[in-house]
């Protein structure tokens, strides 16, 4: 069934969009990532203009994250306090990110910067996570190995002032690291046009030492606010949010998120991390190949004026 999208000005198959939404929704529910880093390139691939893809994707992430966070709320696996602290940093970061983005835009080559930052961050985050979680899985397999001492808090994190108790995470740490993490993720999110879950999740596990169980719900909670803000910004400044496209994606997405949350509870935390790491590395590899291999079409067409 073909449907004409009013803002993207293109006719696409409605079931294809439902399927894409569902697939990304499952990932979102399982891993606590918004899925923007997957969906945005996929939408561009089926011919949606990049500006519309980025803006509409933000809107869809709000829906799937909200659906996912409700499922986590019932299991009490959302650390609201930590979420709020991260949010403060996130909004500061997003503000800085927009300024940086506009500065780079004036220099040209902003596309290259986006792709490069994707490749670098996905590569580093995915690689580290993969090595760590494969190691954890191996230790869990060998029955007589002693579990390594659990180091939740790093030394330097302990020494910082302004300590706060995060009951849901079982942490008593300074608010400075979460705010710094929030700022970094906010900057990257604004530049790369994603919720930032794929950076946030590892940062919460490895830097803040939060338990994986709480990380997913908290990350989703934080993503909702960031993407809602992004959607409004895009809608009011660029007019590039396509409601019809968003509805199709989010119908698939919210159902997928529920299924994903179910799958997530049945898997071990280490298994989840291996899978997410694999996925991140896959996207990274694809983007890196695009940069390294000679493209079949050297030329590309962009509409001048308005959006880039």
């Amino acid at each position: 069934m073909q449907i004409y999208l009013p803002i993207a000005e293109i006719s696409v198959n409605a079931f294809l969009l439902l399927g894409l939404g569902g697939m990304v929704g499952i990932l979102s529910g399982m891993f606590g990532v918004g899925g923007g880093f997957l969906m945005t390139p996929l939408l561009m691939f089926i011919g949606i203009p990049p500006a519309v893809a980025v803006a509409t994707e933000a809107n869809q992430i709000v829906a799937s994250s909200f659906s996912g966070v409700l499922a986590h709320l019932r299991r009490k696996t959302v650390d609201f306090r930590m979420g709020m602290v991260l949010q403060v940093g996130g909004l500061i970061g997003a503000g800085i990110g927009v300024v940086v983005f506009n500065f780079l835009k004036s220099l040209g080559q902003v596309d290259l910067l986006i792709t490069l930052s994707y490749v670098i961050f996905l590569g580093v985050v995915g690689g580290l996570m993969f090595i760590e979680s494969v190691g954890a899985l191996r230790r869990a397999r060998s029955p007589n190995a002693t579990p390594p001492p659990r180091r939740r808090q790093r030394g330097w994190v302990q020494t910082l002032p302004f300590k706060m108790r995060f009951r849901a995470s079982g942490l008593y740490i300074s608010v400075i690291p979460p705010i710094l993490v929030g700022i970094c993720v906010g900057i990257l999110a604004a530049i790369m046009g994603v919720g930032g879950g794929f950076i946030m999740v590892p940062a919460m596990i490895y830097i803040l030492g939060m338990p994986t169980k709480v990380v997913v719900g908290t990350s989703l909670f934080q993503i909702i606010v960031v993407t809602a803000f992004t959607t409004l910004m895009h809608a009011t400044t660029n007019h590039t949010v396509d409601m019809a496209l968003a509805v199709l994606l989010l119908v698939g997405g919210v159902i997928g998120a529920q299924i994903g949350t179910q799958i997530g509870t049945k898997l071990k935390a280490e298994q989840l991390r291996v899978l997410l790491a694999g996925l991140v590395l896959l996207v990274c590899g694809k983007l890196a190949l695009d940069l390294l291999l000679e493209p079949s079409e050297l030329f590309s067409i962009g509409l001048s004026g308005g959006h880039s």
Binding site: A71, F299, G302
Partner: protein, 258 residues
């Protein structure tokens, strides 16, 4: 009044040359883009009105030919070319093209170059390369032609640009018709349909009709809301997202019976 006088003056001046006239129409004067729009077809048909006392139709020596063009709204575009720098492929050169039609199809009763002189083509912007208006900045890129060729190639592959030789059916030098497929990724705007009558590679008569391509119904409503009430539109989009997220969560909880 002055316009009419001017028109009459031109008409009488042009009369000796214009031994033929075109009468034509479109199968529809507007294309409505609905939610289920998946492309459309437009039929251009008409007749050549011969001057009384003109030489009768001679099948052995047909001298008239017809060219029909359909052009979308003109828009400025940037064509970028990638090059390898420090091992990676990045956008290196860019060419601004002043005005390129969003859609351009040119149908002709014979091969275009056989029935249209180069000068006439240049003057009336008929063939695809001439329908694209180029640019002032010289020396910005090494080879500007390669960029325009790329634009034509990419848009031809996307089904937006098309040369359709032998696609105008011309019967007895009088009746003609041409069928155009409009793709599903049609953009809104005023489209122009032009019909040219040629003789010895010279244009002897031409005729222009306008085709309105408009979004209708829910498409129109969404588009207008997004443009005119952006904040309301953004909040509405968010409300839909939140409602859908909550709805799916509630539905799944109900389905599991908890």
């Amino acid at each position: 009044m002055r316009l009419v006088a001017l028109f009459l003056a031109f008409w009488t001046l042009a009369l000796p040359a214009a031994a033929q006239d075109i009468i034509a129409d479109l199968s529809q004067s507007r294309v409505a883009i609905t939610a289920s729009f998946s492309g459309s077809e437009i039929l251009v048909f008409g007749a050549v009105r011969h001057e009384p006392g003109a030489a009768p139709y001679d099948p052995a020596n047909p001298e008239l030919d017809v060219i029909v063009t359909v052009s979308g709204p003109l828009e400025p575009v940037t064509v970028r070319k990638k090059a390898r720098k420090a091992g990676i492929w990045i956008n290196a050169e860019a060419l601004e093209i002043d005005a390129a039609p969003a859609l351009y199809k040119v149908a002709s009763s014979l091969a275009l170059e056989d029935i249209l002189g180069a000068e006439e083509d240049l003057r009336h912007h008929i063939s695809i390369p001439h329908a694209i208006r180029e640019i002032g900045e010289v020396g910005e890129v090494g080879d500007a032609d390669a960029f325009t060729e790329a634009l034509i190639r990419i848009r031809t592959e996307a089904g937006l640009y098309e040369e359709m030789p032998y696609d105008v059916q011309l019967k007895e030098q009088t009746l003609f018709r041409a069928n155009f497929e409009l793709p599903s990724n049609l953009v809104e705007g005023v489209y122009t349909v032009r019909i040219f009558l040629t003789k010895d590679k010279q244009i002897v008569s031409d005729y222009t009709r306008v085709l309105n391509v408009r979004k209708v119904g829910i498409e129109r409503w969404i588009y207008n809301l997004a443009q005119d009430h952006a904040l309301v539109y953004g909040i509405l989009s968010l409300a839909i997202a939140i409602a859908a997220g909550w709805g799916a969560s509630a539905a799944f909880r109900y389905a599991r019976g908890s």
